[in-house]
């Protein structure tokens, strides 16, 4: 039952090879095996969106996938957004969240950003309705969402200028 499977996964541009039990959730793999703790685990049943990552460039919830399923695939986590982790090089999305107070405790923020990155690439000029629909799968208990929506509008303007 506990047969280990060897998987190779590219995370934030780096290739990792690990042995995993089939039941290991992808979120736990990313946090505990790889040590990338920016991917947060909130509800662990696919409702809150805190664990959102990009799986082959599409946002998915990493708590309802198994690590073994990531074999041969490419993942980007929140750490990939600012590879050198420096304040000067914040991604426009991150800078906008800071500017608009799009977070308080920050627990949900990584999930929001990973949801929003491909959204803004596909929709450079989103309406407020578009934004609210895009983030409908991410729960924030602090902000009431208004500042997040504001942050996305600022980010859209910044990213379009690039």
């Amino acid at each position: 039952m506990n047969t280990l499977h060897t998987i190779t996964v590219i995370i934030n541009g780096q290739s990792y090879e690990r042995e995993v039990e089939p039941r290991l959730l992808l979120s736990d793999f990313i946090r505990h095996e790889i040590g990338l703790t920016g991917t947060h685990v909130g509800c662990e049943h696919g409702v809150c969106g805190a664990c959102t990552i990009l799986f082959d460039d599409e946002p998915v919830r990493s708590c309802i996938m198994f690590a073994v399923q990531a074999n041969g695939h490419t993942i980007m986590t929140i750490e990939g957004l600012t590879p050198d982790a420096s304040e000067e090089n914040l991604h426009p999305l991150q800078a906008s969240f800071r500017e608009a107070h799009g977070l308080q405790c920050g627990f949900c923020t990584g999930g929001f950003l990973m949801t929003l990155l491909p959204f803004l690439q596909e929709n450079p000029n989103p309406s407020e309705q578009d934004i609210r629909e895009a983030i409908s799968g991410n729960i924030c208990r602090c902000t009431g969402y208004q500042h997040i929506v504001d942050a996305v509008k600022i980010a859209a303007a910044k990213m379009e200028g690039q």
Binding site: M1, N2, T3, H5, E21, P22, R23, L25, D28, E44, H45, G46, G49, T52, F55, E58, P59, V60, R61, C63, I64, M65, F66, V68, Q69, N71, T115, F119, R132, E133, A134, S136, G137
Partner: protein, 292 residues
Amino acid sequence: MKPPPFEYFAPTTLDDALDYMADYGDEAKPLAGGQSLIPTMNFRLAQPEVLVDLNGLAELAYIRPAAGGGVSIGAMTRQRSVERSPLVAEQAPLIHETMPYIAHPQIRNRGTFGGNLAHTDPASELPAVATALNARFRAQSRSGQRWLTADEFFVDLFTTALEPEELLVEIVIPPLPAQTGYAFREISRRHGDYALVGVAATVTLDNNGRCEAARLVYLSVGDKPVEAVQATAALIGQKLTAEAIDDAAEIAAAQDIDPPGDIHASVTYRRHLAKVLAKQVLAKATARAKQE
């Protein structure tokens, strides 16, 4: 909140997947998008001994014109691909209209069309829509294949007619008849949540503008998709005036359904929603049928 141990197989061909299903039978669960199965396993409500991961079966991920019209969708096609498919928008506009109601984009990126149908959640949109559209389901096992209608396929709460060794491999959505309109609506507390009540409708008009055929299929009011047959029977041969639609909606809510009451919505409220939504979808479907 961690799943129990299981044996994992990741076949890359349908034949191999069917072999695993045949070998492990009742012990095995096919893993499609996993957007319902994995949460259920995290809660340990499901504890399958064996998972047969179908995500490597590229041969089951396709959307193409069906022989004889309509569209043919491979069971492992991601919901997001169905949502974005111009062919689905053209050939099965009711499906196209319904897709955004299913959960959230992150879920639709991973969730599959066939997985959703085979899961047969009574609160899920696609079983109701597939019923309204007379979808046909192709089930395959090592010993052969068979076709099922929606009525045959959806058996009960989370239960389909699939045998333990069978996989749902393809869904065919037939084309809408001429002068047919369609509509889908649902009410949920938050966008993407499970619907309190939802309903899909199709309306076909004859050359005199009278109702020749109509389907009205509900979700979230029973153990599986519930078709309002008395309501639609009352529409046949009628001019679809606001009054006729009101009467049919009344029949649907009062006689055709027996909705559950829970903390999210009482029986009375679900009946109320059923009536209001029926009016809306029948009116919209009628208007669209007239434009045809």
